[in-house]
């Protein structure tokens, strides 16, 4: 118990004096995960919208697949991306294994199904309300999909944040494709894993505190924005 108390105090001291090593890691984490969530949103949201409005054979199967992929184990994604990017792999010549780019790719793959599946659910609910009206006005599928994306925008913020939460908190994929190289690919989660095994509990704990606070703060902000927007726009 005493050890934990000591570690906590040291962790807070590290945060308090804006320790450079600590903040380098935090900044890289944010860069990687924010880029990954942006890429995943650009790909996942249109997929969600298309699945919400399109009727085609096998649609239900695609939806089930997407829902299942939400639970994709990060280490498996890491392994697949590793195989793709390794020297002998099909994308080996790009030479991006063990770089932040590889980590972004792995995290994006991990969260595209989350954003796709959750946004599909949100937009399908809206589509039930809108379908007849939009068809009556002569909206084609593409127009309908973009209308749904815009009209559910406040709920989609929450969906995208769920994706970000998953990306920033996962460790399995980024440690495989990033390699946890100090100053290059070391992010919060991989650093926590490493420092814990090395016994540097204060740094691990400091990063843990920041990671958790960050996720809570982002979600609080999102829910406040959503509440305010819904009050204002109905």
């Amino acid at each position: 118990m005493e050890e934990l108390r000591q570690a906590c105090l040291q962790a807070l001291a590290l945060i308090g004096r804006l320790d450079s090593q600590l903040f380098e890691i935090v900044v890289l984490s944010l860069q990687v995960s924010l880029t990954a969530v942006t890429v995943a949103a650009v790909i996942g949201l249109p997929i969600g919208a298309a699945l919400a409005v399109e009727c085609f054979r096998g649609r239900q199967a695609v939806i089930v697949l997407f829902n299942a992929l939400m639970g994709l184990p990060p280490v498996v994604v890491g392994l697949l991306v590793y195989l793709l990017l390794s020297r002998a792999g099909p994308l080996g010549p790009l030479g991006i294994l063990f770089t932040p780019t590889a980590m972004i790719i792995a995290q994006a793959i991990l969260i595209i199904p989350i954003i796709g599946a959750l946004s599909r659910q949100t937009m399908e609910d809206a589509w039930r309300e809108y379908e007849e009206q939009l068809r009556s006005l002569g909206a084609k599928r593409l127009t309908a999909a973009s209308t749904l994306l815009w009209d559910t925008r406040f709920s989609l913020v929450t969906v995208v944040l769920a994706g970000f939460g998953r990306a920033v908190a996962e460790v399995g994929a980024v440690i495989i494709v990033g390699g946890n190289i100090d100053g290059v690919t070391r992010v919060m989660t991989t650093a926590i894993a490493l420092e814990t095994s090395k016994g540097d509990l204060p740094l691990a704990l400091g990063l843990g505190i920041i990671l958790v606070s960050l996720v809570i703060a982002l979600n609080a902000a999102a829910s406040l924005i959503r509440e305010a927007a819904l009050r204002r726009y109905g």
Binding site: L137, G138, T143, R153
Partner: protein, 234 residues
């Protein structure tokens, strides 16, 4: 595009016949009220006419000349107005844009029509926070702006209080006066008397009676219509 010709129109879902061999020709001019008890198939018939549902058998044909692109052909207002999550003005412009009207003209026409339904003062308010009556007026404005040759109205005042319902009725009168053919369902006898020129009486999916409103209310020809007028049908 009128007259609208229905030939042996049938619609069934899961083996239940909703519309049963309706044949009728609806001409330009008089306000046509589709009257009937709850569950008679009025709304389904209207959706078949508007093209939102495909008939199981039989045909819906517009036998007149094709509408030109500038006038919208046909439009529909639903029992529950579907408001897009944007301002009242943008809701009207949305329909116009889909009809291929240029942006500047969209805005002009939208302002005009909002003025005509008495919503100019809330043009920039979010549509979804307007009252029920205002939302239905906005839905009418959105349809009217398209300059439709035929306007379908499905129980447009069913969810409104009497005051709001009267406002809707007077707007429907104005839309008719501006040259649009009105085809409307209702189960409200008072409203059918006030707005109807001719009555199509539907019961259990069949067209039981067609006559001028005067004659229908004075001396209904069928036993079902007589029972309905006495309030003996639901």
């Amino acid at each position: 595009m009128l007259p609208l010709e229905l030939r042996d129109l049938c619609f069934a879902i899961n083996g239940n016949t909703i519309i049963d061999r309706i044949s009728v020709q609806i001409e330009d001019g008089p306000r046509t009220i589709i009257l009937g008890p709850n569950g008679a198939g009025k709304s389904v018939l209207m959706r078949l006419c508007h093209g939102l549902l495909k008939p199981t058998s039989g045909t819906v044909a517009w036998t007149g000349r094709r509408p030109n692109r500038r006038s919208g052909g046909q439009a529909m207002v639903f029992q529950r107005p579907v408001m897009l999550r944007r301002s009242a003005l943008r809701n009207v412009m949305y329909g116009l844009k889909l009809a291929g009207v240029s942006r500047t003209e969209c805005e002009l026409r939208a302002h005009d029509v909002l003025d005509a339904v008495g919503l100019s003062h809330v043009a920039h308010h979010p549509a979804r926070v307007l009252s029920g009556g205002e939302q239905q007026r906005l839905a009418l404005a959105r349809a009217w702006a398209l300059g439709p040759e035929v306007l379908f109205l499905d129980e447009p005042t069913a969810n409104l209080d009497p005051g709001a319902a009267r406002e809707i009725e007077s707007i429907i009168g104005a839309i008719h006066a501006s040259g649009a053919k009105i085809i409307m369902t209702t189960h409200n006898l008072g409203q059918a008397r006030r707005l109807g020129d001719e009555i199509l009486f539907i019961n259990q999916g069949r067209l039981t009676e067609r006559s001028s409103a005067d004659r229908f209310f004075r001396e209904p020809a069928s036993a079902e219509a007589t029972a309905f007028l006495r309030g003996e049908l639901p």
